[in-house]
């Protein structure tokens, strides 16, 4: 286990092998329901990237997953497993809806948008505050408290949607539809730049915000003092305390940032697509964030690629379900689970074998310079 692997193996080969395994098992599942896995894969990729609208939807979903993936990643850098991104995104929706409902009649979208961003971040962070504080101060396991807060969030949101936000006379638990002041512009110019069209896809400028968030997270984690404190607390809490890093403050701030990023996910579906706050709008994006962060190795660049991969699964999976009657949309959930299993829980499965392989290879040419291989352990 202790053999150092070359970097490209650690960051390239192992994730790739894990991903391939996950997709092979997914292929077996497709065989099990009596369809052709290769054809399914073809339909999936074609549905996700074959035409402008497909790409638009893929990128729309990817935008959600970038936010939630970043949310999970920031917490992981602090050694915290935030399973609550789903609930934080859900509650963050209140901030978006409040800004839109208050302003959409009076001002254009670019006035509403910054306020909605602040609202989403504030509500998302607020929902992470209690688990954060309990973890930092009282040692209550953040995994358990955030799971509980996901359920509390869904009860709270249904209550609020039915009792507070629902317009009189309406049956559906959702807010009224926003006017143009609460609607984000689509990124069709970006698609026209590449000579294709967005079709009806809701790909909107919150994608640009997501990219900005990636850059901001990279800056925060690797280029600021706070980021250093977060990483130190995450890798070795005891050493962090001895180094004078305030543990309670660092944990709480990391979780607040994590919650704020999750909350901002709400901008994309609420202001960019549906133009209203709906029941369970995150639709599992918070949990996908776990897979995205794992696959992206908690790095913003990796997260962008992983988010696009999952965006492809969501969009392509929907089209696949349309083309192959035996495969329902739930295939995506299975693939998601398999990716989390093989890229996350079983990520070290191939490591012993690969260590043996590379240790053997390194020793042969280094036979003359023996001491070089000894320092690796």
């Amino acid at each position: 286990m202790k053999h150092q692997l070359p970097k490209w193996v650690d960051y390239g080969l192992i994730p790739l092998l894990n991903l391939i395994t996950a997709f092979l098992v997914a292929g077996l599942v497709v065989l099990l329901v009596g369809e052709n896995p290769l054809e399914a894969a073809y339909l999936l990729v074609r549905g996700a990237f074959g035409y402008g609208g497909g790409i638009g939807y893929t990128m729309f979903y990817a935008t959600n997953f970038i936010f939630t993936g970043l949310s999970v990643a920031v917490a992981i850098h602090c050694g915290l497993f935030n399973i609550g991104s789903e609930g934080q995104a859900y509650v963050g929706g209140i901030g978006v809806a409040a800004a839109c409902l208050a302003l959409d009649h009076y001002v254009p979208w670019y006035v509403t948008f910054p306020l909605a961003v602040v609202g989403a971040a504030a509500f998302g962070a607020a929902w992470a505050l209690i688990p954060a504080w309990l973890q930092a101060k009282r040692g209550s396991h953040v995994v358990i408290t955030t799971i509980m807060f996901n359920f509390i969030a869904s009860a709270l949101m249904i209550y609020l949607l039915v009792e507070v936000f629902k317009p009189a006379g309406s049956m559906a638990p959702e807010t009224r539809t926003f006017e143009t002041g609460g609607q984000l512009p689509k990124l069709d110019w970006l698609f026209e730049l590449f000579g294709t069209s967005l079709g009806g896809a809701p790909f909107n400028i919150s994608f640009l915000l997501a990219l900005a968030a990636c850059w901001a997270v990279w800056l925060l984690i690797w280029r600021t003092r706070l980021g250093y404190e977060i990483r130190t607390t995450g890798t070795n809490p005891t050493a962090a305390v001895y180094a004078g890093i305030p543990q309670v403050r660092t944990i709480v701030i990391a979780m607040l940032i994590s919650g704020a990023l999750a909350g901002m996910m709400g901008l994309n579906p609420i202001m960019g697509d549906q133009y209203r706050l709906q029941e369970s709008f995150p639709a599992g994006a918070g949990f996908v964030g776990i897979a995205v962060s794992l696959m992206g190795r908690n790095h913003p660049v990796g997260i962008i690629f992983a988010a696009i991969l999952f965006g492809m699964l969501w969009q392509g999976g929907a089209e696949l379900a349309f083309d192959m009657p035996n495969i329902s949309r739930d295939m995506i959930v299975v693939i998601q689970g398999l990716v989390i299993l093989f890229a996350g829980a079983l990520e070290h499965m191939y490591r012993p074998a690969l260590s043996g392989f590379f240790a053997g290879r390194q020793r042969q040419p280094a036979g003359a310079a023996a001491p070089a291989s000894g320092e690796a352990g």
Partner: protein, 323 residues
């Protein structure tokens, strides 16, 4: 507020609703006491529920259906054990993965086999676990007070309900009074010491996680061929997480777990009845609040305001043998 028979009815549904929670909580107890966190109780229950319903449709026999539920849930448990014990992966991540795989696979297979949008066909009486009349339930019902309690509350449940409540003292005995239980607790608190004594940490944890899988299988079968007559998409609906909450609420003790599950089952039973009914002093309570109460209570407990919940010391940490 309500009469005696109405109260009996609520308590009766309390018992019905807390049974799956109890089985899953006891399942989690074995796993977590041995140092393997399990947030995949939900997924294992769901897998068990689907396997039971599918097998009941095909074979028409509840016992064969139960066997399939146990196998399905055990299979998922072994994946969890392999990931978290053998490969030393993250136990939380593994649990999340199992929940996803179970949630997706049950509907996908259900749709492909039965073509009813993930549901199984309605399961007939002969393939389900039906209420068991305890001896003398009718003759003794004439006795005031105790008679109706015996007839309505204690008698008339299906066999899995009795099994679940029997598992409470059994689990207590296994965990606290047997050599196996001592070792199981020891690998959850201090695996290095157990290893030094020449006992396999890996095997002890594997057995604990496998017992966990079996009990989740019972819980799943209860849901799909006991409480209802068939599988529907996501029929566990968070029960695995309520069970996890109950387990923490019970501070990882079997008897406490029973009370916690009965409390959460009771909340579930009254939630629907209390909708819109004004209560004395506090007025009408939103039904969503009562539904969220198990989670809120667990957070309050975790915060250390009502006693302190201390998990097994080595929980969540894969054991690496020193060389």
């Amino acid at each position: 507020m309500m009469d005696f028979l109405g109260l009996l009815q609520i308590l009766d549904s309390t018992v019905r609703l807390s049974t799956p929670l109890l089985l899953a909580a006891l399942a989690g107890l074995y796993s977590e006491r041995s140092g393997v966190f399990d947030i995949g109780l939900e997924g294992k229950m769901l897998g068990g529920a689907f396997a039971a319903a599918a097998a009941a449709v095909v074979f028409g026999n509840p016992w064969i259906a139960l066997l399939f539920a146990l196998l399905a849930s055990l299979g998922l448990a072994i994946i969890h054990a392999f990931a978290s014990i053998t490969v030393k992966g993250n136990q939380i991540v593994s649990g999340v993965a199992i929940n996803f795989v179970a949630a997706g696979l049950t509907v996908l297979l259900g749709q492909s086999w039965f073509g009813r949008g993930g549901r199984t066909p309605q399961i007939g009486q002969e393939a389900r676990f039906n209420p068991v009349e305890l001896p003398g339930a009718d003759t003794l019902s004439g006795i005031p007070f105790l008679g109706p309690i015996y007839r309505d509350l204690i008698s008339g449940h299906n066999i899995i309900v009795y099994f679940a409540f029997l598992m409470v003292p059994v689990t207590w005995w296994v965990i606290f009074r047997t050599r196996f239980g001592l070792r199981l607790r020891a690998v959850g608190e201090n695996p290095a010491a157990v290893d030094t004594a020449g006992i396999s940490v890996v095997w002890a944890r594997y057995r604990a996680v496998m017992i966990c899988g079996l009990l989740c299988g019972f819980a799943g079968a209860y849901l799909s061929i006991g409480l209802s007559a068939g599988f529907v998409q996501n029929m566990t609906a968070g029960k695995g997480f309520i069970a996890l909450a109950a387990l923490i609420f019970a501070k990882w003790r079997p008897l406490n777990a029973m009370w916690a599950c009965l409390l959460f089952g009771f909340l579930d039973a009254v939630a629907i009845r209390l909708q819109g009914v004004p209560l004395p002093v506090i007025g009408a309570v939103p039904v969503q609040f009562i539904q969220a109460l198990p989670y809120i209570l667990t957070v309050v407990l975790l915060a250390g305001f009502i006693g302190k919940a201390v998990p097994p010391k080595a929980g969540g940490v894969p054991y690496t043998k020193e060389r």
